[in-house]
């Protein structure tokens, strides 16, 4: 099962639509609530990052029998030093983003702690790709709903 969402850079009003949409979908699939929360929090951090830093982006969500894989690809300034960006407290966020309660350099570490696997690749001046995977503990219920929905 695949779903795609577009993300508009700079539009903070829409900075939740992908995460919120996926959350609703996973609830319908009866996925374990802890798994949903872990994935959705990681997704939301990634979504806010795209809105805060990139021009635009898209997210592709793939739900299979044993995992949920989410790939964010943005077109933006990219990350010069990913290792540095992964450190808690490192941030290049604007004052506007900080006033919203973000930009404390917790986004990427938070993604890492919530995802089962996190892979980030980036090219300066072009964009960043973030891949988040959460493994499903309760496969049976997911499978049943996938079959009934399709």
């Amino acid at each position: 099962m695949n779903v795609k969402f577009d993300i508009e850079g700079g539009n903070f009003s829409s900075a939740r639509l992908a995460s919120s949409g996926v959350k609703k979908m996973l609830k319908q699939l009866n996925i374990n609530i802890q798994t949903i929360k872990r994935l959705v929090v990681a997704m939301y951090e990634a979504e806010v990052n795209i809105v805060a830093h990139a021009y635009h982006g898209e997210v592709n969500v793939n739900i299979s029998q044993d995992q949920i894989k989410v790939v964010f690809q943005d077109h933006g300034p990219g990350i010069k030093d990913i290792e540095l960006a992964m450190q808690e407290g490192f941030s290049t966020a604007s004052e506007q983003v900080r006033e919203m309660g973000f930009g404390a350099g917790m986004g990427l570490p938070n993604m890492k702690s919530h995802a089962d696997t996190l892979n980030i690749t980036s090219e300066v001046g072009k964009g960043t790709r973030v891949e988040i995977v959460c493994y499903l503990k309760s496969k049976q219920s997911c499978l049943q709903h996938l079959f009934t929905m399709h």
């Binding site: 903070f12 009003s13 900075a15 939740r16 995460s19 919120s20 959350k23 609530i33 929360k37 959705v40 929090v41 939301y44 951090e45 806010v48 006033e99 919203m100 309660g101 973000f102 404390a104 917790m106 986004g107 938070n110 702690s113």
Partner: protein, 112 residues
Amino acid sequence: MQYMCDIIAGKILTASESESQFISKAFASDLMSDVLMLDSGHILLITGLSNPQVIRTAEMSDIKTVVVGRNKKCSSEMINLAKECDITLIESPYSIFKISGVLYESGINPIF
């Protein structure tokens, strides 16, 4: 919920229709990334921030009750978003310190 609202001089702007109104734990923060790091859901969030990101963060964190303190006023966008997400939203004129103290004294526990 009404008692809790009374002791913080709160005003309920919108109330969750589906969630149980019993709250046993709370967390106070103006940093939404700290809220997103919590493992616990279904807690009370106390914050001095008044912007829609607070509601979006609550939605992602499974938080169903948000108290906005420091006499900050919630925008119609915040209220509408809280309704859409089925989140109880309360304004209080008290400081975050006072809200936390009053609620702690009434039996609401910290997460850690």
